[in-house]
């Protein structure tokens, strides 16, 4: 019977329909509502500009600071120092300065405005399928199942893939969920407030070029401003030289502090690139030989040269989130007419995107209903102690603040509570070291709400950060000094925060 069926189907006249038809308006009667682009209903916490062409993180204050610092310092250099230097030494100096400046600006903007490698969230069908698989594996119980992980062997090393509760996917290796942007990012390095974006697979090379060229620029400006002052001092005396060119003093101060941090950071990232690690992995010591004799980095290509080439000159993957595609409203089964704008054709993905948000709302409602039916919700033993303490002590809307929690690197998918032992002497590495600790201490302090007021540990927006002297990209004392109390890591990290928020809401409802 089955054979007969397929026979009859094959005999049918089969008209080839392009699944990506570029003919407009196949269903003219529907097109009265203006079409929205996908970026307008993007589920993450990002800001989009130029109709979806540019994307940044939500907090961009520090980025503008970076921009201002660079522009002002270079502006002063070109206005006050370059004329003198061009006359006394050579006009090549302003030219090289100009080229460096343009390069720095270009790479900065490229890093800030590009998609770092955001993974789109799962469609409802996918999420349901995964849930089903997990339930089958764990055996469905009434309680929340233990944190979902999958183990994969990559080049001989066992790697754990964690399930992201927000995005409803198993995160690929090296991906991480950024709590600030609320997205899973591929090959997540860190969230840099100084560039106002995450640094991930797609913009890591621009970020590296930025800090490298900025190092050269700061050293360049520093040395030539000093030269300028020295030359003037020979002519007129030191104090008069300073009086004649007051801008130089400011430049020297800015550059002096920048040089240490930025050059250090460049050195650190050069090391990371040559060993093909991310900032996450290095700080956690994932592939350090201290963990075990057989511990090695499975992603490394073997030699430094190949690693560098792969990171800097490797193929640039396209953005997976299709920001400028149009949202297809209507039946998902229809072959959607694309306007030829999107490369991949906008299909069910956006439909599902919108459904995803509904899904989230519905699941929250379900939890609320379930909680209303049961007495006080008990924390599960699988929950990390921190969060148990936090929610049971209550606090002003623990859900809300927990979502806002986290310094830039709370999204580190952590395994063990390891205090950062791998701290080289580079000042910036230490500074960037503080970042994850800062984030985790946030979680840590969140747990002890009785001792410290919650609001005190509300996420410090970059605007609140005391602006450190000089430019310190992605390192810097982002946090308060008390964040050095490392100790307790939050293994469930971002996922638990999401669950936490739901639980927080439940608590409120059951009171």
């Amino acid at each position: 019977m089955h054979l007969g069926v397929s026979e009859s189907m094959r005999e049918c006249e089969y008209s080839q329909i392009s699944t990506r038809c570029s003919t407009p308006m196949e269903t003219p009667y529907k097109k009265r509502t203006p079409k929205r682009r996908k970026w307008e209903s993007f589920p993450g916490r990002n800001k989009f500009y130029c109709n979806g062409r540019l994307m940044m993180a939500k907090q961009t204050g520090v980025f503008y600071l970076t921009l201002v610092l660079i522009l002002v310092t270079c502006g002063l250099f070109f206005t006050f120092d370059c004329p003198f230097l061009a006359l006394e030494l050579t006009p090549v100096i302003p030219v090289i300065g100009g080229v460096l400046f343009m390069f720095v600006l270009g790479t900065l903007l490229r890093t800030s405005f590009s998609d770092p490698g955001v993974l789109p969230r799962a469609t409802p069908d996918e999420a349901a399928d995964l849930e089903r698989q997990i339930d089958v594996a764990n055996g469905s119980t009434g309680y929340r199942p233990p944190p979902r992980t999958k183990e994969v062997v990559i080049n001989g090393q066992t790697v754990k893939l964690k399930y992201c509760f927000t995005c409803k996917i198993f995160r690929p290796p090296r991906a991480s969920h950024c709590s600030l942007c609320d997205n899973c990012v591929e090959r997540f390095d860190h969230h840099c407030p100084w560039v106002g974006n995450c640094v991930g697979r797609r913009n890591y090379r621009f970020f590296y070029m930025f800090i490298l060229s900025l190092s050269f620029l700061t050293i360049f400006i520093f040395s030539f401003v000093i030269t300028h002052i020295i030359l003037r001092s020979h002519q007129n005396g030191f104090l008069k030289a300073l009086k004649d060119s007051p801008a130089s003093v400011l430049e020297v101060v800015v550059c002096f502090f920048s040089v240490w941090s930025i050059v250090g950071l460049s050195g650190f990232h050069t090391y990371l690139i040559s060993s093909n690690q991310t900032t996450n992995e290095d700080i956690k010591g994932s592939w350090s030989s201290k963990r075990g004799k057989d511990n090695y980095n499975p992603y490394s290509h073997g030699n430094i040269f190949t690693n560098c080439c792969a990171a800097l000159c490797g193929p640039l993957p396209p953005s997976l989130i299709d920001r400028r595609g149009f949202i297809q409203s209507g039946m998902p089964q229809l072959a959607p007419p694309t306007n030829g704008i999107t490369m991949y054709g906008a299909t069910q993905s956006q439909q599902s995107h919108m459904c995803d948000q509904d899904q989230c709302i519905q699941s929250t409602k379900f939890v609320l209903q379930a909680a209303a039916a049961t007495p006080l919700l008990q924390q599960q033993s699988s929950e990390p102690v921190i969060l148990t303490a936090s929610t049971e002590n209550g606090g002003p809307l623990p859900g809300r603040t927990s979502l806002n929690l986290g310094g830039p690197c709370t999204s580190l998918p952590l395994g063990q509570p390891t205090p950062p032992t791998s701290t080289p002497s580079l000042s910036c590495h230490e500074a960037s070291d503080m970042l994850p600790i800062h984030g985790h201490s946030h979680a840590h302090n969140h747990g002890h709400t009785l001792q410290e007021p919650m609001a005190h540990h509300h996420f410090l927006t970059p605007e609140e950060v005391p602006s450190p002297p000089g430019m310190l990209p992605c390192g810097s004392p982002m946090g308060h000094s008390h964040t050095m109390q490392a100790g307790f890591y939050n293994p469930a990290s971002q996922d638990s925060l999401h669950e936490d928020s739901v639980r927080g809401l439940v608590k409120l409802s059951s009171v």
Binding site: V5, M9, I17, T19, N155, R187, M209, T306, P315, A335
Partner: protein, 143 residues
């Protein structure tokens, strides 16, 4: 009267019986590869060898896109030297291969999968996470 079964008609009229998701295979690292294990739900619809051939070709194409070879290095260096403005005029190698993949999937759908009531969704529409295989209801059985 001969019935015309076009891909679009199928999407409009045929009910979706099930969806099978083929997840990524990370055993070779972060390169884009999909698990080519033959899912049990498709046993009645298509033969194993055909399916595995499709998957193998797709995996090869993705490997080609991400290959680190002289071409990608030259492209990378050129792009860096021109401050990435070169991509305003030309496509990256990755994008070219993605277009090839899209064409291949469409071709496979038209020739092999649609006649069997199946539909492969291009993984790029799912963020390169899964290959979604939609199984349509076999209408003729209900007649």
């Amino acid at each position: 009267m001969a019935e015309t079964h076009s891909l679009q008609d199928m999407r409009q009229q045929a009910a979706v019986a099930a969806k099978v998701f083929l997840q990524r295979d990370y055993s070779n690292g972060t390169v884009c590869q999909f698990q080519s294990k033959f899912p049990s739900e498709l046993e009645t619809r298509i033969d194993k060898q055909q399916f595995e051939e499709t998957m193998q070709t797709l995996n090869n194409l993705y490997a080609e896109a991400e290959k680190l070879g002289s071409q990608s290095y030259i492209e990378g260096c050129l792009a860096c030297l021109t401050a990435y403005t070169v991509f305003l005029c030309m496509e990256t190698h990755y994008e070219k291969v993605l277009k090839k993949i899209a064409k291949y999937i469409q071709e496979q759908n038209d020739k092999i999968y649609a006649p069997r009531g199946l539909l492969l969704t291009d993984p790029i529409e799912r963020g390169l996470r899964v290959i979604e295989v939609t199984i349509f209801e076999d209408r003729s059985l209900t007649r």
